[in-house]
C-alpha cells in the first residue's frame, strides 16, 4: 500500500515559498555586511529543508538543484568563500529559480532543466573560483554522523527566578535525538526547603546528529544561570578547533573559575537574538514557539467560514424580526436569548475577521529586493525605510495592494529619485531615501510611499496635460490640479519608456485599484524636496457600515464613510445648467446633483421631494438625489464578480435580513462618472 504524497504538497509549497522569502531577506542582510553564524545557518537550513522535502515528496529535480545550492551555502557558512555582491546575486538568482520551479511544480507544469544547469554552472564557479582561504574555519562543526554527548547541567539556585524552565530545555534536547536524563538530588536540603530555589542538577545523555554548537545553543539563554559542561560528540565535531573567540566554548557555563568569558558570551548571544527577534523564523532560539503553532489554512476555507458567519448574522436579524411580531408576553425570554445570540455572533464575527488580518509586512516584504534590483539597474542609490509593517489589514486587501504599491515604488525610483550626481549637484545627500509606512487611523489604514527626490514638476505635468487635451493651452494649472492630473489615463511624464516603470501602466491604474478597495489616494509634492503618496483604505473589504436609501421601490446601500451630509433641497437650491445637468447649492457651494433614479432607470421623486446625500470620494464631492433614507445598517459585502461581472457604479451586493439582495454603490465611481460626462446617461 502506498501513501498518497499529494496530501502533503500544499503545505510543502507554502512552507517552502515562505522559506524562500525569508532566505531572500537573509541574503540581502548578508549583502548588507552582516556575517553572524545564525544568519548563515538560517540561509543554509531553509534551503536544506526544501531539499529534504522536495526529495521525499517526489520533486527530484528541485531536490537535485537545492542539493547543489545547499552545498554552496554550506561552503559559505564555513567561510570557504566570501559573500561579495556577485555571489549574493547568483544566490538570489538561485532563490528565484527554486521559487519558479516550485510554482511550476505547484501548477503541475514540467520542470525546465536548462535553467538548472546554467545556474548550477555559476554555483560551481562560485565554489571554485572564489577559492579563498577559509575565513572562519571554526564556524560550524560538521554534523558528522550520530554523536553521543554527556551534558552536565547544574542550574544556579536562582534559576527559576528569571523565568527559566528546565523542562522546556529538555524537550528541545529530546527533539534533537535520544535523550536520557538523570537527576542529581544530592543538593536537596534536609530542612529549610525553599520551593522557589533550584536544588537539582542533571546528567543528560544525548544521542544526536546535531553539532555541539546547536546543543550549546539550547542553553544559550540560561548559560549565565547555570553550570554547563558538554562532552563528547561526533568524530567531526571532536576534531574541530574550538579555540577561536567567536565560538561558544564547549563549556559555556558560568563556572565561577572563568566568570568573564561566559558573561561576555551571554551578552553577545542575547544581542544577537534580539537582532533577529523580529523575524518569524524559529531557527535560532529553540525556546521560541514551535512552528506547529501556526496553521496553514486555505483561503477558500476561511472565506467559507466568513460567509457562514455572514449568514448567521442574517439569520439572527430574521429571528429578531419574527420576535418583534410576537405578543409581548411570549417574547420576554426569547428576547434575552436573542440578545445573547447577538453578542456571540458579534464575537464570532470579530474573531473570524481577525483571522483574515495579516501584518502589512506581507506586502512590504518584497520591496527591499525590488529596490535593490532597481537600484542596480539604474545606478541610483536608495535607502529603503520601512515602518509600521506590523499594522494589520485584511489579507485580501493586502493582496490587492501589492500591485499598486509596487507601481508607486517603481515610479518613485524611476521618476522621483534623481541619479546620485544630480542629487549632489542639488546639494542633497547622494543616497536617496524611500520610505514605506503603514499606520492605523480610526477604521482605516493609511499607507505612505514617500521619496526625497525631485518632486512633481508642475510645468511638465501641464505640458503633458495640454498635449493630451486635458486642459487648454492657456489654462492655468494649480498645484492641486497638477497633482490630480497625474492620475489621468495615459499620463506619464517620463521622457522615454524604460524597463523600470514603463510598462504602459500609469497612476490611473493605481487609483483604480485603490478605489476598487474602497480607498482613496492623494499625492503631496514639493519641487526639489520629494513626493508623498498617501493611500487610505478601510481595514476590511468584508463589512461596511452603510446607509440604506430608497429610490422608487428599490433600495441601495451607500457606504457611511463617504457620506458627508444629507439635506432636503429647499426651493431654488437646485438649478439646471445647460449641458452640465443639475447643481445643488449648499451654503454658497455648487455641487453636481445626480438623481439615483435617473442614473439607474427607476421612477424616482423629483428634486423637490427627495433627499440629497452629499458624497465625497478622492477629494471630490457630489450630491446624489434619493427618495428617502431607510436607516443605517452594517452589511456584509458580497462580490458580484464571483458569478457575474463588475457593474459600473456598484461596489458589490449584500443580503438583507429577509434574504433580499441589495446593491452597494461605489461612491468613487459615482463621483468620477459625474466628472467625466461621457459616462452620464
Amino acid at each position: 500500500m502506498s501513501i498518497d504524497l499529494r496530501q502533503f504538497h500544499a503545505s510543502f509549497f507554502s512552507e517552502s515559498l515562505e522559506g524562500l522569502d525569508a532566505t531572500e531577506a537573509n541574503l540581502l542582510r548578508l549583502e548588507g555586511g552582516e556575517r553572524s553564524p545564525e544568519l548563515l545557518n538560517a540561509i543554509f537550513r531553509a534551503i536544506h529543508s526544501i531539499k529534504g522535502a522536495a526529495g521525499s515528496l517526489g520533486f527530484p529535480q528541485i531536490g537535485r538543484f537545492t542539493h547543489e545550492f545547499e552545498n554552496v551555502l554550506d561552503d559559505l557558512r564555513k567561510g570557504r568563500f566570501e559573500a561579495d555582491p556577485e555571489a549574493v546575486d547568483i544566490m538570489l538568482a538561485c532563490v528565484d529559480h527554486v521559487r519558479y520551479s516550485l510554482r511550476a511544480a505547484q501548477q503541475e507544469k514540467p520542470h525546465d532543466p536548462g535553467k538548472d544547469d546554467a545556474l548550477l554552472g555559476r554555483l560551481a564557479e562560485l565554489r571554485n573560483g572564489h577559492g579563498k582561504e577559509p575565513e572562519r574555519e571554526n564556524a560550524t562543526p560538521e554534523a558528522g554522523g550520530a554523536g553521543r554527548y554527556r551534558i552536565r547541567f547544574r542550574p544556579a539556585p536562582g534559576f527559576f527566578a528569571s523565568g527559566n524552565d528546565v523542562v522546556k530545555l529538555f524537550r528541545v534536547l529530546d527533539g534533537m535525538g535520544t535523550l536520557a536524563a538523570k537527576a542529581d538530588l544530592s543538593a536537596l536540603p534536609e530542612e529549610g526547603f525553599d520551593p522557589e530555589k533550584c536544588y537539582l542538577a542533571w546528567a543528560l545523555d544525548l544521542e544526536t546528529e546535531r553539532a555541539r554548537e546547536e546543543i550549546a545553543d539550547v542553553f544559550g539563554w540560561v548559560e549565565d544561570d547555570c553550570e554547563l559542561e558538554i562532552e563528547g560528540g561526533g568524530p567531526a565535531a571532536a576534531s574541530k578547533d574550538r579555540s577561536a573567540p567567536a565560538l561558544p566554548p564547549a563549556s559555556a557555563g558560568a563556572a565561577p573559575a572563568a566568570p568573564q568569558a561566559p558573561e561576555r558570551r551571554g551578552g553577545d548571544r542575547r544581542k544577537a537574538d534580539r537582532r533577529t527577534g523580529s523575524r518569524r523564523s524559529d531557527d535560532f532560539d529553540p525556546l521560541l514557539q514551535p512552528r506547529s503553532d501556526l496553521l496553514h489554512v486555505g483561503r477558500a476555507k476561511l472565506d467559507g467560514l466568513m460567509n457562514a458567519v455572514g449568514e448567521l448574522v442574517i439569520t439572527k436579524t430574521i429571528l429578531k424580526q419574527i420576535l418583534s411580531q410576537l405578543p409581548a408576553d411570549a417574547s420576554g425570554r426569547f428576547d434575552e436569548a436573542l440578545q445573547e445570540l447577538e453578542h456571540r455572533a458579534r464575537e464570532l464575527q470579530d474573531s473570524v475577521m481577525s483571522i483574515r488580518m495579516q501584518p502589512m509586512s506581507f506586502a512590504f516584504g518584497r520591496f527591499p529586493r525590488l529596490v535593490r534590483d532597481l537600484c542596480q539597474a539604474s545606478g541610483k542609490l536608495v535607502q529603503l525605510r520601512v515602518s509600521g509593517e506590523a499594522s494589520e489589514l485584511d489579507s485580501t486587501v493586502i493582496e490587492k495592494l501589492v500591485d499598486p504599491l509596487t507601481h508607486l515604488v517603481r515610479n518613485a525610483l524611476d521618476h522621483g529619485i534623481e541619479p546620485p550626481a544630480e542629487r549632489v549637484a542639488a546639494g542633497k545627500m547622494e543616497t536617496a531615501t524611500l520610505s514605506l509606512h503603514a499606520e492605523h487611523r480610526g477604521g482605516n489604514i493609511e499607507i505612505v510611499v514617500a521619496d526625497d527626490g525631485r518632486g512633481i514638476n508642475r510645468e511638465r505635468v501641464r505640458a503633458k496635460a495640454v498635449e493630451l487635451g486635458l486642459v487648454g493651452p492657456q489654462d492655468p494649472v494649480g498645484e492641486e490640479q497638477a497633482h490630480d492630473l497625474i492620475f489621468s489615463p495615459g499620463f506619464s511624464t517620463a521622457e522615454r519608456l524604460n524597463e523600470l516603470s514603463g510598462r504602459g501602466v500609469g497612476l490611473d491604474v493605481v487609483r483604480k485599484n485603490v478605489s476598487a478597495l474602497n480607498g482613496t489616494i492623494k499625492v503631496e509634492s514639493e519641487p526639489g524636496r520629494g513626493t508623498r503618496f498617501v493611500i487610505r483604505l478601510p481595514l476590511t473589504l468584508a463589512i461596511v457600515d452603510g446607509m440604506r436609501v430608497a429610490v422608487a421601490d428599490e433600495s441601495y446601500i451607500l457606504p457611511l464613510a463617504s457620506i458627508v451630509e444629507c439635506v432636503r433641497p429647499g426651493a431654488g437650491a437646485v438649478r439646471s445648467i445647460a449641458q452640465h445637468g443639475d447643481v445643488l447649492e449648499i451654503r454658497g457651494e455648487y455641487l453636481p446633483l445626480v438623481s439615483l433614479g435617473k442614473l439607474f432607470g427607476a421612477p424616482a421623486a423629483g428634486p423637490d421631494r427627495g433627499i440629497a446625500v452629499v458624497l465625497e470620494a478622492d477629494g471630490e464631492r457630489m450630491a446624489l438625489l434619493v427618495d428617502a433614507l431607510l436607516g443605517q445598517e452594517q452589511v456584509v459585502i458580497k462580490t458580484l464578480e464571483a458569478n457575474y461581472r463588475k457593474i459600473p457604479c456598484v461596489a458589490g451586493a449584500t443580503i438583507l435580513g429577509e434574504g433580499r439582495v441589495v446593491l452597494i454603490l461605489d461612491v468613487g465611481a459615482l463621483v468620477r462618472s459625474v466628472e467625466s460626462p461621457q459616462y452620464q446617461n
Binding site: 428599490e554 462580490t639 458580484l640 464571483a642 457575474y644 463588475k646 439582495v661 446593491l663 446617461n681
Partner: protein, 164 residues
C-alpha cells in the same frame, strides 16, 4: 488526443440532457452543467444591463445572476407564473440562473441522432447550437450552454475573466 477519443466514446454512448420549454420549442442542455432547478423569485434589478439580465438573487448566501433566455431569444412574451422555473447552472466556475417556461425531462440523446443545425433566423446564433435531434418523434434543439453563457453577447463574464 486521449480526451478527444474519450469524448467521442461518451458521445457514442449518448449523453444525458435536460430538456426545457421556451415558447413553443423544446431545448436541451447538458445535464452535467445543471446544479438545481428552482421556482422563479423576483430578483434584484441591476441598472444599465441588457433586458435579458433580470437581476441577481440570493442563493444560499451567494449572489447569482438571473438570465431570461426567452428575452434573449426574442420570444414574444415572457410570463412569470407558477410554471416559470429557474435552471441553476454551473458554468466556468460560476453559478448562473436561467429562466425558462418549464422543465420537461431528462433524456439520453445518442450522438448518432444529433444532426448539424440549419441556419436559423431569429434570436439564437447557430454557433451556440450543438445540433438538432429527434427523440420520440419530437425535435430538440441542443444548446451549447457553456459557450452561450460565456459569450461576449451575454456579457455575463468580464472579458478579462473570459480570456483566462
Amino acid at each position: 488526443m486521449q480526451t478527444l477519443q474519450a469524448a467521442g466514446e461518451a458521445a457514442q454512448a449518448g449523453r444525458e440532457y435536460l430538456s426545457f420549454v421556451l415558447g413553443d420549442a423544446q431545448y436541451c442542455i447538458d445535464i452535467l452543467k445543471v446544479q438545481e432547478i428552482r421556482t422563479y423569485e423576483q430578483p434584484t434589478r441591476i441598472a444599465n444591463t441588457p433586458a435579458f439580465i433580470k437581476g441577481v438573487i440570493n442563493l444560499r448566501g451567494n449572489i447569482v445572476p438571473i438570465v431570461d433566455l426567452r428575452v434573449k431569444f426574442g420570444l414574444a412574451e415572457s410570463r412569470y407564473d407558477s410554471q416559470t422555473v429557474v435552471i441553476v447552472l454551473n458554468i466556468a466556475r460560476r453559478t448562473i440562473g436561467v429562466v425558462v417556461d418549464g422543465v420537461s425531462d431528462v433524456m439520453s440523446v445518442p450522438a448518432s441522432e444529433i444532426k448539424p443545425p440549419p441556419e436559423l433566423s431569429g434570436g439564437l446564433d447557430t454557433k451556440y447550437l450543438q445540433g438538432l435531434a429527434t427523440v420520440n418523434g419530437q425535435m430538440l434543439i441542443l444548446i451549447d450552454i457553456e459557450k452561450l453563457m460565456t459569450s461576449r453577447d451575454m456579457a455575463i463574464v468580464d472579458e478579462a475573466a473570459a480570456a483566462e
